[in-house]
Amino acid sequence: MSATALSSGRPRRISPARWGLYAFILITALYFLLPLYVMIVTSLKPMAEIRQGNLLALPASPSLAAWVKAWTSACTGLTCEGIRIGFFNSLRILVPSVVISILVGSLTGYALSLWRVRGANILFGAMMVVAFIPYQVFIYPLVRVFSFTGLGQSLATIVTIHTIFGLPTMTLLFRNYFTSLPVELFKAARIDGAGFYQIYARIMMPMATPMIVVAVILQTTGIWNDFILGLVFAGRDNLPMTVQLNNIVNSTQGERAYNVDMAATLLTALLPLVVYFGSGRWFVRGIAAGAVKG
């Protein structure tokens, strides 16, 4: 721990500065937790209590009715089958998208790192530049391309789209990892006569397990939380949970059911939150690996 040098002796007495520090941490932590708390208590209250009571008050008699309604019968537009439709759509989008984007990204990263290919650096550099470009630049041409190929808006389209837009980050992740491995490993395998795909499948990928975990976390949260790509490319039968959630909350006619809205919101946030709290430091590692481009 590098922080050990920070505070000098007297660990027992708490100085005023220390009190200030803990007060700061407490207040900021409350600010960050407030929305989560309000979501939870709102989702457990009946509407009458929400209308009369206080946003921050605990529910008088907690009930899961709003959760059941959000899951099974909340209305998105014309259909009233709950957010579960979106949940399963998101799941069907998520699994193939994560697997394929990691396969393609790791293979690209592997080819760009260990094999001396002419133009590899140019290709890699170009991919890093486009990783920053807003989707709005690509979206319309891609819609045309996919309708031209006959795929239109479909599950296959949205999976392809997630693979395409995940490629720069996935490539970066695996390229940097493979570059950090001892090159002798690769050379020894080549001398033993192993081919390109053999080295990839038998040596490199098994060694890249930590990076695969990071990539799965990064892609799972990213794809689950996507809104704009799902909206444009998934098609009406495959709309992801985020899009359905927005429809449930923002296109309600008549009085809004805030408890159902908040239950649906929590349900949508559930998977990324489970991934986040379940993965601990791996999530931070994913941020560091994905964020520090280059």
């Binding site: 590098s2 890093m128 908040m262």
Partner: protein, 292 residues
């Protein structure tokens, strides 16, 4: 070493998806968007060249001007506040506090949530009838007003509040990694010299963390240009057009208002802005990489 033909074919086959994506998606789509912005395409693309007419229209379009104005306000406030708060949180955590892991998880969890979720939660919190304003009044502050979300002049600041809440944890994580990279010797030397801690942070540590600040700033800036989900879910651009943003302008004109020429002109303007921000950063990183 020289590659055999089979190896060479294998490498090429592995790079084929990336090459295709580069050529078709990125270069192809970008050029097509740029070309469309020079035509008078409405609902369907056409090739009637009209020069920079769409850009002229853009500059007199109220909705676009509001969008640009909003994204500038949002961008400046969001980036500076997230950097400031994120840095302060990282410094606080770096003081050998108890339960460090728990505190860090609390600061960072909003980043795991989508912008749609973020927007909807804050829409509810900022709801004037039943949200925070109502709480303040019920506590006895009868005249308390916090109705920013329904007022055109202030709606964009609500997006800032939500955005900062979502992204400060990310900055904290990046900054904490930077702080942990500061050499212990510096702290020891500063203590020997009797420098107060805040002086050390301002005069020594912050200047050393240029890379962390740059990384965080660039990440936040790209999020600013991409700002779309939050505006859609929180205010849907409203009240009126008060919280419209450029990304939403493009989407609406592509898919609802059937004005491809104007939409692609707006998209191209966004592209040029991003390149102007990102190119110097990538160049700087590449230069640094060479030195290292």
């Amino acid at each position: 070493m020289r590659l055999s033909l089979t190896s060479r074919l294998s490498v090429i086959s592995a790079l084929l998806p990336a090459l295709m994506v580069m050529l078709v998606v990125y270069i192809g789509a970008t050029s097509w968007t740029a070309w469309m912005s020079l035509t008078n395409s409405r609902m369907l693309p056409n090739n009637n060249f009209v020069g920079f007419r769409q850009y002229e229209l853009l500059l007199t379009n109220d909705r676009w001007l509001t969008s640009v104005h909003n994204v500038i306000i949002y961008g400046v406030l969001f980036v500076s506040l997230a950097l400031l708060i994120g840095f302060l949180l990282a410094v606080a955590i770096d003081q050998r506090v108890r339960a460090e892991d728990t505190i860090r998880s609390i600061y960072l969890y909003p980043y795991a949530m989508s912008f749609v979720v973020t927007g909807l939660v804050w829409q509810w919190l900022l709801n004037p009838t039943l949200g925070i304003q109502h709480v303040l009044r019920s506590w006895g502050f009868a005249g308390a007003t916090f109705d920013w979300i329904v007022r055109p002049e202030t709606a964009i600041y609500c997006l800032v509040i939500a955005g900062v809440w979502q992204a400060s944890g990310l900055v904290m994580a990046i900054m904490l990694a930077g702080l942990r990279g500061v050499d212990d010797e510096i702290w020891k030397a500063a203590r020997v010299d009797g420098l107060p801690k805040w002086r050390v942070y301002i005069s020594i540590v912050i200047p050393m963390m240029g890379a962390s600040f740059a990384t965080a700033a660039v990440l936040l800036s790209t999020a600013v240009v991409r700002l779309y989900d939050l505006s859609v879910s929180m205010t849907n651009g409203g009240p009126g057009i008060a919280s419209e943003v450029p990304a939403k302008f493009v989407m609406d004109h592509l898919f609802e208002r059937a004005n491809i020429g104007l939409a692609t002109a707006a998209a191209t303007t966004m592209l040029i802005t991003v390149i102007a921000v990102v190119a110097p950063y990538l160049y700087w990183r590449a230069r640094k990489g060479e030195v290292r």
